[in-house]
């Protein structure tokens, strides 16, 4: 009865289901897509009677992670307007009644791994008041990159979530690594 289809939908579904994923997207993360998805995240959680503080945390962390993929993924796709969008995986989920989570994954340059690792480890080592101070100083003293990056993404995510920020790298070849990050927001 089964006709062969060339991708394993069942497997993809099962992995997502077992991992408590509510929603996930893989592909080029354009500004239009993240606006649309961000919107439906807000609507979905609001209609589930999740409080505004939590909804805004989930939304904010989702936008930061999505814009990180958009700007910094090594895999890019050229869009119609001559701009390129990073390709990656983004999504949200809920672990029982403990926490919501927002995750992302994308390919990056292996030479950037150490820099990101050092940054996140530093953020994870800070106490609340130290993090507040670090955020303030970084916002004041940092400059925007050409792409509009403020270098504040992980600091801001840490302020809005339960630390530590969980992350991992998988080496793909001598030039590339897969970077994944998961941020928990306590219920």
């Amino acid at each position: 009865m089964n006709s062969e289809i060339p991708i394993d939908c069942f497997n993809i579904f099962t992995i997502m289901d077992k991992s408590d994923v509510i929603f996930s997207y893989k592909g080029p993360v354009t500004q239009d897509i993240l606006v649309a998805v961000g919107d439906s995240i807000k609507e979905k959680f609001r209609s589930n009677d999740v409080g505004n503080t939590i909804v805004k945390k989930i939304f904010a962390i989702f936008i930061e992670e999505a814009q990180n993929v958009l700007k910094y993924s090594f895999d890019k796709e050229l869009q119609n307007d001559d701009q390129s969008s990073g390709i990656g995986l983004i999504g949200v989920g809920k672990k029982e009644e403990h926490y919501y989570f927002v995750f992302s994954g994308n390919v990056m340059k292996k030479s950037d791994v150490e820099k990101i690792k050092t940054k996140i480890d530093h953020i994870n080592s800070l106490k609340d008041d130290e993090l507040r101070k670090y955020y303030k100083e970084s916002r004041k003293n940092g400059t925007l990159t050409e792409q509009g990056g403020a270098g504040l993404g992980f600091i801001d995510m840490a302020r809005k979530s339960g630390r530590p920020l969980s992350y991992g790298f998988k080496e793909l070849d001598e030039n590339r690594a897969f970077f994944e990050v998961l941020i928990k927001i306590p219920c």
Partner: protein
């Protein structure tokens, strides 16, 4: 000099800089991909506008979400206002924060606490 008005979109706020009334307002959510590009005209406008130190300005900031790129721009706007105040310019900044978002007030305080121009933190409910 003319007033500046930019309509709001899903990811960018309404900009309403009224030159005659000395009333400036930014309302909405701000998460453009590149805030430097979106706010380019607004920053240029403010910079020119504040050259005249004899104004009496009311500035309402009612931003319900700022991505980190936009937060850098808001930081720059506040620095412009601080310089204007330091040159004896008159300004009142109203920073509106969401009453039902527990992080919202502290976020406003982080932006404002080191500034010495007159400001108020005002609670409101969105929608």
């Amino acid at each position: 000099m003319k007033s500046l008005f930019i309509n709001k979109t899903k990811a960018t706020p309404e900009i309403n800089f009224n030159y005659e009334k000395n009333y400036l307002q930014i309302v909405g959510e701000s998460y453009p991909e590149n805030a430097r590009i979106f706010f380019k005209d607004s920053l240029a406008w403010i910079s020119e506008y504040l050259e005249d130190k004899n104004r009496n300005i009311v500035f309402d900031l009612k931003i319900t979400y700022l991505n980190t790129s936009s937060s850098k721009i808001v930081t720059e706007i506040l620095e412009f206002l601080q310089d204007y105040h330091n040159s004896n310019g008159k300004i009142l900044l109203n920073w509106f924060y969401e009453e039902d978002d527990e992080d919202s007030k502290d976020n406003g305080e982080i932006f404002l606490e080191d500034h010495t121009f007159p400001y108020e933190l005002i609670p409101f409910l969105d929608e």
